[in-house]
């Protein structure tokens, strides 16, 4: 009998270990996932509910229908913010991707000290948008920044006053934003470039293709998915832009550089109109959904057809 007992225990031990092996990953993944999903879902629903209430300083019950939405959409701030979003979104995504791709291709030439350059280009990503915004607000200020410097060199007719020009101020956000995010785009593109099969490139070289042609015809076409991913990430960054605006232009001159997130903040905290702020936040969520959902659908479709 004792021998059977022993045999039982020997058989038991790995089974117990197998049980823990199976459950540990689940334990590590699920609670945080449920917690964060709960946070996102619960607070999204809470905001959605608030957007239909007459809440002002504090959340209060009651139902006002679409009143908050129509009111918010009727304000000039809202119009300015969404026109700005289109301008900023397109320019920021295009400029950042182009700059990131250029940097990645240059780094891909197996230059000496690649790590140093990569760190330098990635470095802006490590500082917050508030710092970026503040630095650029000094550089771009016509009285103390680049304009003054160039004028001081003798080019007295030089003008670069976009920061205080109502029509051009939105492009200063693009400049600062692209400077910040280009390193991030570069890192992703570089990973993409390096993942291209070396055999294909060698084959192209044997066929006598030059470097430029290899990039254009062989490397870049295989990077389609990465380009798309970078663009989607940048676009959702553009929609959420807040701190950069606060630090660089303060929404000005006048209200010329308001963005959707600053409108939400303005309603919720400056004006004490939580209901309208919640409505503005839901409209922003809608803008994000318009970007993310088609991308996810595309991903799924691609995954299935592959």
């Amino acid at each position: 009998m004792p021998r059977d007992d022993f045999a039982e225990r020997v058989r038991e031990a790995p089974r117990r270990r197998r049980f823990w092996d199976a459950i540990l990953p689940a334990l590590a993944i699920w609670p945080p996932l449920i917690l964060s999903a709960g946070h996102v879902v619960v607070f999204t629903l809470w905001t959605a509910w608030l957007s239909f209430t007459p809440s002002t300083l504090l959340p209060e019950a009651g139902y006002v229908g679409w009143h908050n939405y129509t009111n918010v959409m009727g304000t000039r701030n809202f119009h300015v913010a969404y026109v700005n979003l289109v301008i900023f979104g397109v320019c920021f995504v295009v400029a950042t991707s182009a700059l990131g791709l250029l940097l990645a291709i240059l780094l891909d030439q197996r230059v000496r000290g690649e790590n140093v350059f990569r760190t330098i280009f990635l470095y802006p990503m490590a500082i917050s948008f508030v710092v970026t915004g503040t630095i650029w607000s000094w550089l771009l200020n016509p009285g103390i920044g680049i304009q003054r410097l160039v004028q001081g060199w003798g080019w007295t007719g030089f003008r670069f006053d976009w920061l205080v020009d109502r029509d051009m101020a939105i492009y200063t956000l693009v400049i600062a934003g692209a400077w910040q995010a280009a390193g991030f785009a570069m890192a992703l593109f570089l990973a993409g470039l390096r993942s291209v099969d070396g055999e294909i490139i060698k084959a192209a070289q044997i066929d006598g293709a030059g470097a430029w042609r290899i990039y254009r015809r062989v490397v870049l076409p295989t990077m389609g998915p990465i380009v798309l991913a970078v663009m989607v990430i940048l676009l959702q960054m553009a929609i959420k832009t807040f701190d950069l605006v606060r630090a660089l232009t303060g929404g000005g001159p006048g209200i010329a550089t308001n963005m959707p997130a600053t409108v939400v903040y303005d309603f919720m905290f400056q004006r004490g109109q939580i209901g309208r702020g919640a409505a503005a936040a839901m409209l922003m969520l809608l803008a994000l959904v318009v970007v993310i959902v088609p991308y996810q659908l595309y991903q799924r479709w691609r995954g299935r057809s592959a």
Partner: protein
């Protein structure tokens, strides 16, 4: 920052938790308080006020929330939602009425009547602090918004000796400065600063129209000729502003202003503090009331105040009574204004003694005269005239008007009226 020993905190929280214990310890009145004042002269002043409170036998527990006023309000909102508001907090203007609806406040009628205080407060100001007939808040200090500062060097350069009294004289002087290569107006690139220029313009044209249009939101007055004239004057001011200022405070220009590269500043009385703290002296600039076309004294008022939130603990209630008594007293208000550069709320304050500047004396005299002339109005840009939603909607239009030279005064006037309608 206020230093608190751990024992004091424990004792304090125990006192809140157990009313019986609180009553046993009620010997020492205690005050919990939130303000945004943590640094500079504001921080020094509130710290001095706390010391005074302690000298009078109280326990002072101040939690400053540095940053914008809205940050302080978010903290206050959170504490109210948690059911534990401070005994007193900083709050001003019509926000006192708005916030008093979301949590119970203390009826201060008794302590105000006992001090005979109401006779010494400008009626416009008193009304803000007793929004529904009872005193629930007390004003602390006043600033005059419509104040003009002029650089001595710039004035000398164009041969001017006297501050302009009317907008016509102002425009004339600013034109001369511009011709002499001086930027006539040192301004800030911040929205409330733009709003302030317009309110000073309108008040300078007609305080009566200001009262009707801005404080009562009377549609006829808003579409009337005085408001249109105010937009036209604001356009002139905008043309004279420093074109390089972007999202910065006016005070970054103190040095060029004193050097005479910029001519004038239209700013509240605290600008004096900015200039003096910048290392300059009273000989470097002139100051006085902003232009006033009808020639009689007027006063755009900005006042800081404390609102008192209802408390269950006896020591906090006693603390509120003690604090209310203290801040109504003239010496307390004088002590505070000495530090911040404001003027006392009490109209019986005598500023002829030492420790006061000419700018403060001019401001106090201006208030006395304006009360007599019935030309005291409340500041829009500093959240005194309207609750935040309406103020913000109006300032949106004003700041856009300052920066968009294509926007005509007539159209801006219509937009202002529309913005008010949609915010209501």
């Amino acid at each position: 920052m206020v230093d608190l020993s751990r024992r004091a905190v424990l004792a304090g929280s125990a006192a809140v938790a157990i009313p019986g214990v609180a009553r046993a310890q009620a010997g020492k009145p205690r005050l919990t308080m939130i303000t945004q004042w943590s640094a500079g002269s504001d921080g020094a002043a509130i710290t001095a006020l706390g010391k005074l409170f302690e000298q009078n036998g109280g326990i002072w527990q101040h939690s400053p929330v540095p940053g914008f006023t809205t940050d302080m309000m978010n903290k206050l909102r959170a504490e109210i939602m948690a059911g534990d508001p401070p005994a007193a907090s900083q709050l001003k203007g019509p926000e006192i009425a708005a916030w008093s609806k979301i949590a119970p406040t203390v009826d201060l009628d008794g302590v105000v009547a006992a001090a005979g205080y109401e006779a010494f407060v400008a009626p416009e100001l008193a009304a803000l602090h007793k929004p529904y007939g009872h005193w629930i808040a007390l004003p602390l200090q006043l600033y005059r918004i419509n104040t003009l500062f002029a650089s001595k060097k710039a004035m000398d350069k164009v041969g001017a000796t006297k501050l302009p009294g009317t907008w016509a004289e102002f425009n004339d002087l600013a034109g001369k400065m511009k011709a002499a290569g001086i930027i006539p107006l040192a301004n800030g690139g911040i929205r409330w600063d733009d709003g302030m220029k317009w309110e000073i313009a309108l008040n300078g044209i007609s305080p009566a129209a200001y009262r009707k249009a801005v404080m009562e939101l009377d549609t006829d007055a808003l579409m009337g000729p005085e408001v249109l004239a105010a937009f036209e004057q604001t356009r002139k001011l905008a043309d004279w502003m420093n074109p390089s200022i972007a999202a910065q405070s006016w005070s970054v220009q103190v040095a060029p202003f004193i050097r005479g590269e910029m001519g004038m500043v239209l700013m509240g009385g605290w600008a004096q503090g900015n200039i003096i703290n910048g290392g300059f002296t009273f000989a470097d600039f002139l100051s006085g009331p902003a232009p006033q076309d009808n020639g009689r004294a007027s006063y755009i008022m900005n006042a800081d105040a404390f609102i008192f939130w209802q408390q269950k603990a006896a020591d906090l209630q006693a603390g509120q009574q003690l604090f209310a008594k203290l801040i109504m007293q003239l010496p307390t208000q004088e002590m505070y204004s000495h530090i911040t550069g404001s003027i006392p709320v009490r109209t019986d304050a005598d500023l002829s003694g030492t420790g006061w500047s000419d700018a403060q004396r001019s401001s106090a005299q201006g208030l006395k005269d304006a009360v007599k002339e019935k030309q005291v109005v409340l500041s829009l840009a500093h959240n005194m005239a309207q609750p935040n939603p309406i103020t913000a909607a109006m300032i949106d239009v004003l700041t856009e008007f300052v920066h968009n030279k294509d926007l005509q005064p007539k159209e801006a006037q219509q937009r202002l009226a529309d913005a008010i309608d949609s915010a209501r």
